[in-house]
């Protein structure tokens, strides 16, 4: 089962290591982890996407809550939150695949952000499932390299990750 957990942390030396280290030593697998400063520069927000059963997920959350620099941890339910991920993808540019790439990019509302005679760089944003689908489309066309940010998420409506 895939879960997304939002963590509000003090923006201090070593906090990311503390959080990611916890996953390693408790044997939890992370699918993705993103971190960035919030509107208050003293705090950062980490979003972790992971796979695991309910008891694993609960244990992850409880262990995270014990870290001294962690101020709040919340499980974000898919139904009541919005998730986005950004991917940059470089694909071979040849006369044979060019039009197919452009068409797919258009359908996926992706943007071509770099263009040379040999390659194209494409930016695409969306839920992880959309990103995965786009990768599937691009694979036969010759992916050179790619880079994903990992998922970021916010709850819908007024709910917030309290400060």
């Amino acid at each position: 089962m895939r879960s997304v957990i939002a963590i509000y942390v003090e923006n201090k030396y070593g906090v990311l290591t503390r959080v990611s280290g916890l996953f390693m030593r408790r044997g939890f697998n992370i699918d993705s982890l993103t971190v960035g400063e919030t509107d208050d520069p003293d705090f950062s927000r980490i979003t972790i996407s992971l796979n695991g059963d309910e008891s694993t997920r609960e244990q992850v959350i409880n262990q995270l809550k014990k870290l001294h620099n962690v101020k709040r941890v919340k499980l974000l339910k898919t139904a009541s939150s919005v998730e986005r991920e950004l991917m940059l993808l470089k694909v071979k540019n040849t006369p044979d695949n060019r039009s197919e790439i452009m068409a797919a990019a258009e359908i996926y509302r992706a943007k071509v952000i770099d263009y040379t005679t040999d390659s194209m760089c494409i930016e695409v944003t969306g839920e992880p499932t959309k990103i995965n689908a786009f990768i599937d489309v691009m694979k036969p066309l010759g992916i050179v390299e790619m880079c994903r940010t990992g998922v970021v998420a916010l709850e819908r409506g007024n709910s917030i990750l309290e400060k």
């Binding site: 290591t17 503390r18 244990q59 409880n62 870290l67 001294h68």
Partner: protein
Amino acid sequence: MQNAQGVPMTGAQIVVETLIEQGVTDVFGYPGGQVLNLYDELYKASDRINHVLTAHEQGAAHAADGYSRVTGKVGVVIATSGPGATNLVTGIATAMLDSIPMVAITGNVPTTLIGRDSFQEIDITGITLPITKHNFFVNDVTELADTIREAFRIAKSGRPGPVLIDIPKDIQTAECEFVKGEAVEPFPQEIAEDSEIDRAVELIGQAERPYIYIGGGAAGRGMTKLIMTLAEKIDAYIGCTFMGLSAFPNSYDRFLGMQGMHGQYASSMANKEADLIIGIGVRFSDRATGNTAKYAKHAKIIQLDTDLSEIGKNVKVDLGLIGSIVSSCERILERCEKREHPEWNATIAGLKKEAKRIQDAAEQKAGGAMTPKKVFDIINEIKDKNTVIATDVGQHQMWAAQYVDFERARRFASSGGLGTMGYGLGAAIGAQIASGDKTVLITGDGSFGMNLNELATAVTYNTPVVIVLFNNGVLGMVRQWQTLFFDKRYSNTVLERKTDFVKLADAFGLPASRAATPEEFKTAFCRAMQHDGPYLIDTLIDMDEFVLPMLPPGGSIEDMITSVD
């Protein structure tokens, strides 16, 4: 905190002043290049804070740990950078696994040299990240005092544990204003919901065979009376984990002793027979439960713990009461009704009888020989209620757990979770200095060999630690497993050493005797207990003495081994 009314001080002075402000009277440690300034301030403040110099930083860390176990105070250890800091690692990990409050202070190279692999530079905050509750690297002297205060607060809050503070040398020499503060209070604990307390009371009301199972979280928290009153009201029996030992006097008739891998027959069986298990400050560790898949299948489980991540971590529970265990127990006691379970009383009486039968059979088999049981009978006879028992790790430790008659809380210092061989001597010294009471170290020739250098410390400070060294010439616990599970292939467990421990003691400057019979042991132990200072008794026992009963690893209660031919 810093303001105009402060007194200008160096970082090193601030460390010492903040320790004193936090109520610290004794610290353990070892000087070195990057803590020279700190040691200079300790020298100047030696009338206000006592520093105990050990032979090795590991011994200092274990001493701080032992100091904490018998007092409940935060133990403090100081070491220099690099190897000084890494030598603390096992001591810090030992404290972490047993939730012992400790503050470890290390020096480091100046901030300008950090990250350059400078002489004796090591990333000790990185190394200790998984074995501390939290750690700090101080890179601004104005934050130093508050960082130390925060470290104390974290160490003693909720589920206690070790905190490390790494202080580069230039922070120790930098100056800023210091304003004296107060000793910090722990963070307030959560309180379980009223509805959950009601649910616990309901489960207790339905139970016919209640069993209270206490661990390190409940030991030494002034809860003994409270739990006894609860047990009497709901007609329950009490067992404990290794870490729960000494919380209850062994003479208390509802107390069945330690359960688990080498636990008492009666408590392990009572745990199995119970229809309600109330776990208080326990983590249902593999050593205490056996195979968790088969553990307490027919019982409801209520778990009380201040650490929310412990609820259901190892064993699925029916009800978790998160937060102050004192508050939860008090409220359960208030609301539950008086219960009587005559059938359960009869079952327990039967278990106690069977336990005695097993014990008697073992003793009869032994005859007049020097058995561990006989050694402990003598120790129990001569020690008083305040005597502290410290141990190393191995067979002797389990025999101590099985046979020592504890009479009051916080009289036991032993490495439970990490199982640190070499823990004992340092811890015994720390425990003795903390309590001022006679301390008996139960150790084995294997464990003792690891950190016996601390004999020098005991002699220097004339610390009255009586060392009962179970000498069987083998690494007994591992050898026991090899006997039972590896067809007696004794790989590297037979110590073909020629160490003469009596001569060794003499070289270190402490008296010693050798005891090969119970009579000799009694004479030696009486003399040792009267001696003002450390004393070693080389106690010869047979290498084929086993720790029984035993639940094989991964086994459950049905697989209990009670005798070996």
